[in-house]
Symmetry: C2
Subunit: 161 residues, 2 copies
C-alpha cells in the first residue's frame, strides 16, 4: 500500500501496491500569462485565452487558461511527481470538470485518490483503477476535477517488491 500523502514520490508502484483510499500529492507548477497565451495560440486561440485586454469584456472577465492547458499541466504534474505508476499513467478518459477558471498567477498542484480497483476478467495481471484527481491552486481552490480510469498491471514475476 502507498503512503498518504506521497509528495513528490518517484517510487514505481504496481497494482498490488495500490489500495482504495491511497492518496498522492504532486509537486507544483507556477503559471503565468505568457504560458497561458502560448498554449492558447497553438490550441485554443480565443480572445479570453490570448489577450488580457480583450478578455476583460468576455465571460471570463480577464485572462484565463484554456481548460485543456489546465488539463495538460495536470498531466505533467502527475507524470513528474503525482502518480508514480511503474508502467506509466495510461488512461481511457473519464469525467472532466473545470470548477473555476485558471488564472495567470495560479500555482497548481494535483491531489489524487484511488477510488476503485476493478480487476480485469480477461487479463489476470491487470486492473482498471479509478482515480479522482483534483487540481488546486495555491489558495486551495479547485480548478479541475478529473476521474480517469487507468490501466494498472501487477509487478512482473522477475521483479521483487
Amino acid at each position: 500500500m502507498a503512503d498518504a500523502p506521497a509528495t513528490g514520490a518517484r517510487r514505481a508502484l504496481y497494482l498490488e501496491d495500490l489500495a482504495v483510499g491511497d492518496r498522492f500529492t504532486s509537486g507544483t507548477h507556477a503559471l503565468d500569462a505568457e504560458q497561458i497565451k502560448t498554449f492558447a495560440q497553438q490550441f485554443d486561440p480565443q480572445p479570453f485565452h490570448t489577450d488580457e485586454e480583450a478578455a476583460k469584456a468576455t465571460f471570463f472577465q480577464g485572462l484565463a487558461a484554456s481548460g485543456w492547458h489546465t488539463a495538460a499541466i495536470t498531466m505533467r504534474l502527475l507524470v513528474d511527481s503525482g502518480m508514480p505508476l511503474a508502467e506509466g499513467i495510461i488512461g481511457s478518459g473519464g469525467e472532466l470538470h473545470w470548477a473555476q477558471p485558471t488564472r495567470p498567477d495560479d500555482v497548481l498542484h494535483v491531489e489524487s485518490e484511488v477510488v476503485e480497483i476493478v480487476p480485469s476478467r480477461s487479463k489476470p495481471g491487470r486492473a482498471m483503477v479509478q482515480m479522482h484527481c483534483r487540481t488546486l491552486n495555491q489558495r486551495g481552490e479547485l480548478l479541475q476535477s478529473f476521474k480517469p480510469k487507468l490501466v494498472v498491471t501487477k509487478r512482473p514475476a522477475a521483479q521483487p517488491a
Copy 2:
C-alpha cells in the same frame, strides 16, 4: 437552425440559431511524430509518447499521442472551423473518452452534434448546450469522444440576425 454539415463554417451562431440535432464538421489536422513528441516532452513525458523505439515495448506497441494532445488538437479544430459560436466555445467540462490511440500518421477532424439545450433559470439570455464531439481519423476511426456542456448566449438585442 444551422445547416448540417457546416464544414469549415465561420458564421457566428447564437443560442437561437441552434437546435438539437444540428451537426458541424471541422476542417482537418495532419499529425506527425514530431508534433506528438514535442507536445509530450512538455506535458506528458512518458516513453510511449516521446520515443518511437521505447514505445514498441509498451502498452501502446508504438508511438501514440498523449490523449491531452488529441484533446488539444480537437479544441483547435473546433475553434477554427468546427463550432462557429459567436461568443466563443466556453465549456465547464464533460465526459471524455479515448477510444483508440492517436498515431503519427493520423489526420484528425471533429464531428459535433447538439444533444440537448437547457435554458438557464437564473439568466434568461443563456443556456447550457450539451454537445457530442467525436474526433475521427482519415479512416473514420473514432479516436476521442467528448460530451461538453457549453455556455451559449442569445444574440444581443442590437445585433440583427
